[in-house]
Amino acid sequence: MSTPPQPLPGELVRAGFTDARRAERLLAELLGSMPGEPAGDDLTGALSVTADPDQALLAAVRLVEADPATGALLAEAGTARDRLLAVLGGSSALGDHLVRHPEHATVLADPEPFGRGQRFPDPEPLCERLTAAVAGLTGREGMDALRVAYRRELLLIAAADLVAEDPVELLPDVAAALADLAAAALEAAVVLARAETEGAENVRFAVIGMGKTGGRELNYISDVDVVFLVAPRQTDARTDADAGERSAYSSLDDAIAVGTSLATAVMRICGQSTGEGSLWQVDAALRPEGKNGPLLRSLESHREYYQRWARTWEFQALLKARHVAGDETLSEEWLDLVRPMVWEASARDGFVENVQAMRRRVEEHVPAAEAPWQLKLGPGGLRDIEFSVQLLQLVHGRTDEELHSGTTLEALAALRDGGYVARDDAHALDDAYRFLRVLEHRVQLHRLRRTHLMPSTEADQRRLGRSLGERGDAATAVVQRWRAQQREVRRLHERLFYRPLLAAVAKLSSDEVRLSPEAARVRLGALGFRDPAGAMRHLESLTDGVSRRATIQRHLLPVMLGWFADGADPDAGLLAFRRISDTLGTTHWYLKMLRDEGSAAERLAHVLATSRYAVELLIQAPESVSLLGEPTGLQPVSRETLHSRMVAAAERHEDPADAFTGIRAVRARELLRLVLADLVGEIDQPALRAALTELTDELLSAALLIATRAVVGDADPAARMLVVGMGRLGGREMGYASDADVMYVFEPVEGAEGAQAQASEIIAVLRKGLSGNGPDPVLELDADLRPEGKSGPLVRSLESYAVYYDRWSAGWESQALLRARSVAGDQDLAQRFTALIDPLRWPDDGIDQGAVRDIRRLKARMEGERLPRGADPRTHFKLGLGGLSDVEWVVQLTQLQHAHEHSGLRTTGTLAALNAAVEAGLIAEGDASVLRRSWTLASRLRDAGVLWRGRAVDSVPSDSREAEGISRILDRPPGHGGELAEEWRRAARRCRAVVERLLYGGPLGHSRSPGRSRGSAGPGGHRAQRA
């Protein structure tokens, strides 16, 4: 035999072989083993169009080795050889299978194995072939036969897929054929399972396909999602002689036991690895109660579960349910049972929350390491498309039955035809879905492994690229194509939902989607807009016209709408955006910032839809929006900067009124900065409280400066001035709603006249300057903690304080002084004042038992008296049982008793003192953490209340929307607002138990009278505490 003509190595490289020498050798071997005198060039040509010529050639050699008869197939050019080589080049796993079963090579010869023009099998004959293959077999033999028969069919599907001119076009057919093949395999598995299961003849058993199997859009290899059903076989007593005996078996319990064995057998028959490998894992986790639930339950139990317990997403999963194997009547009974509920479900409570949760699920659950190579999950993946489509089905499917398809691409087409998504968007999405699926299929086909990752090695990428028709640098080309598609999906995902909303109002080009106003309202409603008609008006106003502004906003809004929808109050967010845009839209920087500054637009949308307080501040000074675009815009400024800004603002204006406005504008801007930082989570709570305190300190300093200047002018001052902070201001624990508790102190300058009058006038000017409407929310100055309270003089000299405290001071006044801190004014005076009060608040040797008893009694009386009329003592943050005041009293009592021994207790901060008390061993850490929890939760809830409502709240609002808004500011997931009241009551109840022990020296027992009287306000004592 002469050596056939052989291609040169160079030609081999051009033909796509990577290892030309090895290819040359193998080619020679292959040609040598073939009948007749095959043309080497010709064969090389055939190999060169396969995805992986090296792999195809090697597999061909092995195949002919295994069965020389197959050589004939390869010898002759034509579709038979092309199909065989395509399979060998596209899938090493199927190549291995052919080597093991060379007889299957011949089935590939027929390009239309299922009849004229038909590339894929019909479901019924397919099912018959697979069940016939296992007929009469059991055990391992049956499982092997099933695997062999399955692979034989799989070969045909893969061949049709791999030789397709346009695999992207063919994708839905391939996916459907794979689902049919899985169904057929399940049917055969049921036959095998029945044969090996005792009592199987007494039950009806069915398999429902879920997920991609149910949707007829399966992958080459993935888990096959199913739900198993079983029911006792009905026995007919009149005709069945064995009725008596049978009925013993037909009870539900036994049926379920038999059904469980059958289901377990089916899962094993499909999933277990044998000498012939395995098919795929059968996953029954979509059954009621998921993995926790029993594998099988009665139809009645299914009904009960879906009526009573099931969650919205479970109904969504039912969308794809379809009979695939076993007793079809049983499946139909079940489907009749669940189908109506799928669409009823979307009318259930919490629909909006569920929709929002689903939108987030799209982005979650991707292991970080895999994210960059994910085809399925992650941004721009298949899941994005599937969820987008399902979400739209869920929103609009309630009223439009046309949308009820379980198949992604069909549903997408229905959405397009119904006008729910733009025609070109639908088209692009359809393309993207097919392309990503083809990538996924080809990746899986190579080794028949369940994977959803793009290959990361060049060889794998090259094969993938070539299988999609790329030549040259196929690896780079395919990755680029994929990345581009991914970006497109990402963009589409956002547009799909929101762009038609804009189109509905903005009357764009004629090719655009025509979402009816009604459908647009439904969709806005599903997004959480409570006034969809209003939202439509805002959208119209924002996008109307041809201005640059309208154009940019048309571009921005689809994305921003999603962010508004994530907030607790989307309507308010959109309205505020409209108001701010109306003011700033013509400035050069505003829209540019939103368009170009990364997260600025997202943060703005979040802030606007979350916080009325922030909106009010922003409406006052819209240009402050720029803080969101500045890199350090949300970091609190340093104390020095704050100081110099305040001083500069104070000195810039001659007129005191203007100067006050100036410093209040500085406060407004810095306050807004803190609010924004808080809302986007860039500042923690202790830092926020410290920053708010600093801001107040500096404001008061600057205000004192202005007032002094206004009163004294250029003359020498007659008095040195000091502002002392008390309560939360003194404790450096300010919240948004905190008043500034203060005392005013002066000291006559030696030899000067009229110090008292001058000091009083300065304070009067200061108070007037900071009150009334201004650029910032009013800072209330509360001087009620001064000696003699409301009836005492507003401003006292240091000496007068000394005399007063020496003679009259009540126990509660020492207690109030625990949080006294000089915040503005003369430093020397501050030192003298501190020297005056230190021995009062931190008395040597603590306080005696009599004083302790007085404090306890005062507290007990205040509990009844101070609570506002109508307030519930269980829920009031500040004065309720276990509230802020409770914690502060415990800490302060400890301070009064022990500050002389432990320097750590000599602090004005509640938490600082509490921590010091723990360190000193005075309060157990367990107790302290309960107190801390209540105190911080109450503080945070009060702050969140201000952010959400724009004004203070005293308890968790009973209105669930308000509670939800506050809960969202606390960064809780949506739909958990209702738990807040419960959470507070729990924290407060636990706190109260500790307070009763630490403050009152033991539980009060329950023998005290429950109906505590809430009389009129008592004497001065109840002013003692300021939270």
Binding site: L252, D253, I256, P288, E289, N292, G293, P294, L296, R297, S298, S301, W309, E344, D349, G870, D872, R874, S958, D959, S960, R961, G978, A981, E982, R985, R986, R989, A993, G1005, H1006, S1009, P1010, G1011
Partner: protein, 445 residues
């Protein structure tokens, strides 16, 4: 509107029903009712009907509160004792806040939440109560005291007994209302009867118990008797318990059943029992919520004053009853502390929560008590680690106050309402001068 609701509206039309009573329950287990005309029902389904929600806070209501009752269409039943034409029907309601969220103070919702929590672990909770009560002669004269309608005893057949007719009438009426009765007989005390309801899921059963008490009172009145669920009406005779058999199901499978285990009680069943025992003291204020309840518990005999379990031990708090081989479906434990005057929603919720805690945290079941625990000395019981239930409502309240389990299960609102009510009851009781004191002290001291 769903199908159930449509069915209700159709039935009302077909059966010429003129009034629909909307039933709900306050925190103490008292039945409350609002009547609506059928015309308003459609709206009631859609939006509910507003009322002053403080009505469910028990005796110590403080604030008015706008709430909504929303009928549960699946509980629709025609009331048989109101006559057939025109008829009256009733539905149980869920109580909601004006925005539609469940009201924290609704007992029914407390049980729903507990059941939801169990459902997350794949469990459904079934109960089967044996409800005892007394029949006294009508009218009751306080100066004479209660007079039982007969003098029979346990399982006695009373010839031409009024009780017999009464039970037949009561059962017929219960069955008409869709409540299956498993069993009924004369109980130990004179005029004392027991009717056992066929097991059902806990929520339906709690609804059934509320209906049951109403039906029994109505039928008794028709027979010229007064039915009382008071836990201990007669000092010398047994009190009225509501022994309740409970079990967990996973789908259709009884999770307490394990054919090879001792007493066929599965690990889940043992842990559940351990949970009920460990938390028994905490939940007593709810399962035995009246001052009078403690006179039953501490009355000796079959009353379970001690925290232990046993197989067929009628002095134990939890009894693992006889079983018949292979009837896995019916494997259950019997909790014997509850009395017939409890709030069934709250009691079931707490028993479930206590049991589930045992299951979730894998509590060990203490050894079985085989003797009559009453016959043991205090020292023996202490040695065996057998704790006792609270002696009085006051003690029970104190134990409950520091219970996280109870607070969490009832929710902070019901927890608070309940304690407030019970403290008030205790103060009122404490203020009484009883006949006992007069008898013993007045003359002698």
């Amino acid at each position: 509107m769903d199908r159930q609701q449509e069915y209700v509206l159709r039935t009302i039309e077909e059966r010429d029903i003129r009034f629909v009573r909307l039933w709900f329950t306050d925190v103490l287990g008292a039945l409350k009712s609002v009547a609506v005309a059928p015309a308003e029902l459609e709206q009631a389904f859609a939006e509910g009907i507003g009322f002053d929600g403080s009505a469910i806070e028990g005796f110590t209501r403080v604030y008015e509160a706008d709430m909504i009752v929303q009928p549960d269409a699946s509980t629709f039943t025609v009331i048989p004792w109101r006559g057939d034409n025109p008829g009256t029907a009733r539905m149980f309601c869920d109580i909601r806040m004006p925005d539609g969220s469940p009201a924290g103070s609704d007992s029914r919702n407390v049980l729903r939440r507990a059941l939801d929590s169990a459902a997350e672990d794949g469990f459904t909770f079934y109960t089967h109560p044996e409800i005892e009560f007394y029949l006294f002669k009508e009218p009751y004269d306080a100066s004479v005291g209660p007079i039982p309608i007969d003098q029979a005893g346990y399982f006695d057949h009373v010839a031409r007994g009024d009780g017999h007719d009464f039970r037949r009438a009561a059962i017929t009426m219960l069955e008409k209302m869709g409540i299956s009765v498993e069993y009924s007989h004369h109980e130990g005390g004179p005029g004392q009867n027991e009717i056992d309801l066929r097991y059902a899921d806990a929520l339906s059963m709690a609804d059934n118990i509320m209906t049951f008490r109403t039906v029994v009172r109505e039928v008794a009145l028709q027979h010229g008797a007064l039915a009382s669920f008071m836990p201990k009406p007669l000092a010398d005779h047994p009190g009225s318990a509501m022994h309740t058999h409970v079990s967990l199901f996973e789908g259709d499978k009884n999770a307490f059943y394990e054919p090879t285990a001792s007493y066929e009680l599965s690990q889940t069943g043992r842990r559940f029992t351990a949970g009920v025992l460990r938390h028994a003291r905490e939940i007593t204020a709810v399962t035995n919520q009246w001052v009078n309840s403690y006179k039953r518990i501490w009355g000796g005999g079959e009353a379970p004053a001690h925290v232990c379990w046993g197989h067929n031990n009628r002095s134990a708090l939890v009894r693992v009853p006889m079983y018949s081989i292979g009837k896995g479906h019916s494997r259950r434990i019997e909790i014997r502390s509850m009395d017939s005057a409890c709030n069934p929603y709250l009691s079931f919720a707490l028993i479930l929560a206590a049991g589930l805690k045992g299951v979730r945290e894998g509590y060990e079941l203490p050894p079985e008590a085989e003797d009559d625990v009453w016959a043991l000395t205090d020292g023996e019981r202490r040695a065996m680690g057998i704790d006792e239930l609270p002696q009085s409502l006051s003690e029970a309240i104190q134990v409950m106050e520091s219970s996280e389990l109870v607070a969490e299960t009832l929710g902070e609102t019901v927890f608070d309402f309940f304690l407030r009510n019970k403290r008030q009851e205790w103060y009122d009781y404490r203020a009484q001068v009883t006949p006992f004191e007069l008898d013993r002290y007045l003359v002698r001291l």
